[in-house]
Amino acid sequence: MLSFLKKQRIRGGVHAEERKAASALPIVNDFPLPKKLYIPLQQHVGKAAEPVIKVGEKVLKGQLLAHSQGLVSAPVHAPSSGIILDVNDYPAPHPSALPIRMIVLETDGKDEWLKTSVAADPFQLDAEEISLRVGAAGIVGLGGATFPTVVKLNMGRENQIDTLIINGAECEPYLCCDDRLMQERAAEIIDGVRLMLHGMTNSPGANLHLPEGGRTGRYDMNTKSAVVAIEDNKPQAFLMMQAAAAPYAQIKVMQIPTRYPMGWDRQLIGYVTGREVPVGCRSSEIGVTIHNVGTAHAVHKAIRHGQPLLSRVVTVAGGAVNRPMNVEVPFGTLISELFAFCEVNTENTARIIMGGPMMGDSLPHSNLPTVKATSGILALTPNELKNTDEQPCIRCASCVSVCPAGLRPLDMANNIRINQLDAAVDLGLKDCISCGCCSYICPSNIPLVQYFKYASGEVIARQQAQHKAEQTKKLIDARNARMERIAQQQREDELARIAAKAERERLKAEQETEA
């Protein structure tokens, strides 16, 4: 036990001012259904979904709108009943607001559900059937990563996963939607966790490609236990979850220190299990998989009630919000409508952010839809923004001590400033998780994380450019070879023609002499 405790450690991180004002208020359920919903076909990591409906078609709530494509993808469903108005490009909820494909749904106000059947006892279902239903419900990681949950469950069956961690850290300032969810819907979340555990069980035949059918050997392949990790600034959520989990010995609820970025998977795994995820490895390779509490809740709704993922709880907060709250909104709701409902003072809004203030994306305007990744929408006043008056680096090394990935942000930034990206990559640029701790702590207001985001994108762009250069060389060679062939052919044709002409003339001359 003592050695277990000794291994628990946290590297880096900051304690940011929490500002979780709405965490004391219940989740608002009566958000007025918007007239139009703008539903992006890509709200997840992986391939965009392909529409299966036609413009003008009438759809019911929960009906499939777009089918998932390939192994890593997620389907999209109708958040309410109504008529499909358009399938076209509209601005995406992204810092660039560039267009992506969306389905526009005009709601009819009836909110009429599509009839679905549910299993009486889901624990009688095969594990495969559970993940199939989770995939069909379009469930993705609701912590913000939006990785399709079914892929993780399948990985859980195929790898030797012994611990399922449920991430209730919610370490970003302002955000408190998971906190409220745990306080109000603890029983549903715990049920979702049990269903996930069941979905990861190794049923006979699932691992026939592994030695001895994957059943015997040193490892017991069933995921044994789940740990719900909650930061200790949410005592109420902890109590509720603990009470809900009490009947189930395999589910443990634990408190973890409040420190950003505690919710980062490697940090969380390190703290909860004492295991370190080696660089370049996935957490499943060391027997751990992580899901968000919101995802567990969505699994409960999908399996117990047959409801696909249609809405989520969103934190609306920030100094410019007069009624900060956690509110359940259907996907596709425009942020501007959300702002009107929460009485946001648009004049005083200096920046709109989707997600948390540390890792979220700033949006150029509010005519963009909420999606599966939208854990929060912040409307910040000028006073809430960090001073951007950049000063020279004083080499205080604060950025080094807070970096959870153990990097040297100041050296990386210096290299990036003079475009020495290779040097920055050597210093570990690819391990940077863009958590923003370094920028947050820097007394000289150096936009460190912005440098790293720029450089990471640039490194990818260069790799693509290099790939293209190689392809170009191949194309040029292929063309030259073809030109050479054609020239060769022409030379041969020319020779043949000359020979034929000589032959003709010879024949003609012969005829003349004969005549």
């Binding site: 923004l385 960090k386 951007t388 990206l421 820097c442 194309l475 292929a478």
Partner: protein, 190 residues
């Protein structure tokens, strides 16, 4: 006396050996140095001449002799400059290098007569078409050499900046910002 003769003999020896080396360098010169080959392989190979040399091979030779800076190739941008510097083992300040603007050729369908001239000059076979048919450029294969633009009789082939989509959008490099200005980057608290 001994000291003097030692100095004289060693100096003469040094001079003689130096001369020998000089002569050897002149007569035993390697014709095509492997460095030039390697440099040429790095360069884009489109022989565009923007560097001021008549083509990529002469440019590579100038680089190897130190007559051109590592940053001389505009289409290559700083990525290429970094590779060249690494190959030649030199230090380099890239803060002045401009990244090339990405262009792609596009056919305006209204005015294309289907004369196939562009099709014949494109070095990467990026243009598809047949006589009397509207031609089109495969954007992924176009290397922006502009050869097709020069030969097109109706000016319907033009270079356009590569369209920015969510797939190729990237964060901009942070610029030093004056106090109180609110850029559009994220990370409000940091």
């Amino acid at each position: 006396m001994y000291v003097l003769s030692a100095i004289v003999s060693l100096t003469l020896l040094g001079l003689f050996l130096g001369l020998l080396l000089g002569v050897a360098a002149k007569y035993l010169k390697v014709e095509s140095s492997p460095v030039v080959d390697e440099l040429e392989a790095l360069l884009p190979g489109s022989q565009c001449g923007q560097c001021g040399f008549p083509g990529c091979r002469p440019a590579a030779e100038a680089l190897a002799e130190g007559n051109a800076p590592a940053t001389m190739c505009p289409p290559g941008g700083s990525a290429l400059a970094e590779q060249i510097a690494a190959l030649l083992g030199i230090d380099l300040d890239l803060s002045e290098v401009k990244e090339p603007e990405l262009l792609v050729a596009r056919v305006s369908e209204d005015t294309c007569t289907g004369c196939t001239r562009c099709f014949k000059v494109c070095p990467t076979d990026a243009i598809v078409g047949a006589p009397k048919q509207i031609h089109a450029v495969v954007a992924d294969a176009c290397i922006a050499c502009k050869k097709c633009v020069e030969v097109c009789p109706t000016e319907c082939l033009q270079m356009h900046p590569v369209e920015v989509t969510l797939r190729n959008w990237r964060w901009a490099k942070p610029q030093p910002v004056p106090a109180q200005s609110l850029g559009s980057g994220s990370n409000a608290l940091c």
